[in-house]
């Protein structure tokens, strides 16, 4: 029961943070939806690790063309080259902002790492011993993206 309450609180926090970020810095509306990304399309994933009294990861994932669109909105560049480094850099920064804002509701003393990025098809991201605390999809006018908060504190011998 308590776990469920915490998960719901994280969902509400995530919804608020993501909405604020996309409205403020991308001038884009987001709506929470029940839709998941197909693994057979080219995806890009940004991961921010948390360490300290609570261990885990914040994962932000979307299709590659969406990431390009978000980078264009974020940087206000109309026609960003499809191979531009600014695309993964932007997704990493978006994940960093979501994680940084979410950190306020995580246990005191938690520290954040810098973004890791994965690109490709047919891959899954798995945190050893991790449990998804909440997973939210958000719809935008170019498709939906996924944000997951993974609790890695359940690893044997850690976080107890």
């Amino acid at each position: 029961m308590e776990t469920k309450l915490i998960e719901n609180a994280h969902q509400e926090d995530l919804d608020h943070i993501v909405d604020d970020l996309f409205r403020t810095m991308l001038a884009t509306e987001v709506t929470p939806v029940a839709e998941y990304l197909p693994s057979d399309e080219a995806l890009i994933t940004a991961i921010i690790p948390f360490a300290g009294p609570w261990k885990g990861d914040l994962v932000l994932e979307c299709r590659r063309p969406q990431a390009r669109y978000y980078a264009q909105r974020f940087l206000q560049i109309e026609d960003l080259d499809e191979t531009s480094d600014d695309i993964p850099s932007t997704l990493g920064e978006l994940a960093n902002i979501v994680a940084g804002n979410l950190k306020v509701v995580l246990p005191k003393g938690v520290t954040m790492g810098t973004p890791s990025l994965i690109e490709g098809k047919d891959y899954t991201v798995r945190v050893c011993g991790g449990r998804t605390v909440c997973c939210r999809s958000y719809s935008t006018d170019v498709g939906s993206f996924l944000v997951r908060l993974i609790d890695g504190s359940t690893l044997v011998g850690e976080g107890q």
Partner: protein
């Protein structure tokens, strides 16, 4: 007046540059992608204000601020970071930071933080 923007994210350095213009600050800006690079820039360039990310690999923004204070630099310093707990706000203030701007930010947030230091809407050459 020259402002140094320190952030390991190229995208965020671009955003800060743009937001500075939108906020009416057209000062000369130089960039560093790490705290170590910022220290190198400071050896050759007269910097009046540093806008730094907090969460960076190797040497973070707080380490940079402490290093500058230890070395006797009196440059104005502010954080632009995604983290904004009251603990971080007070840590930044205690270490001598002039302000902490939280991402996501607006041009108004920049105006509010920077006007006491730069004055309002000063127009100078932009690098």
């Amino acid at each position: 007046m020259t402002i140094l923007v320190v952030d390991d994210s190229k995208a965020m350095r671009m955003i800060i540059r743009r937001t500075m213009r939108e906020a009416g600050f057209h000062h000369k800006l130089v960039e560093a992608s790490s705290a170590a690079q910022a220290l190198t820039v400071l050896q050759s360039t007269q910097i009046d204000l540093i806008l730094s990310d907090w969460n960076m690999p190797e040497m973070n923004g707080m380490d940079l601020l402490v290093k500058l204070k230890t070395d006797g630099h009196a440059i104005k310093f502010g954080f632009v970071t995604s983290e904004s707990s009251s603990e971080m706000q007070s840590t930044a203030k205690d270490a001598g930071a002039a302000f902490l701007i939280t991402k996501p930010f607006t041009p108004e947030a920049f105006r509010s933080a920077l006007e006491p230091i730069l004055g309002g809407g000063e127009s100078q050459s932009s690098a």
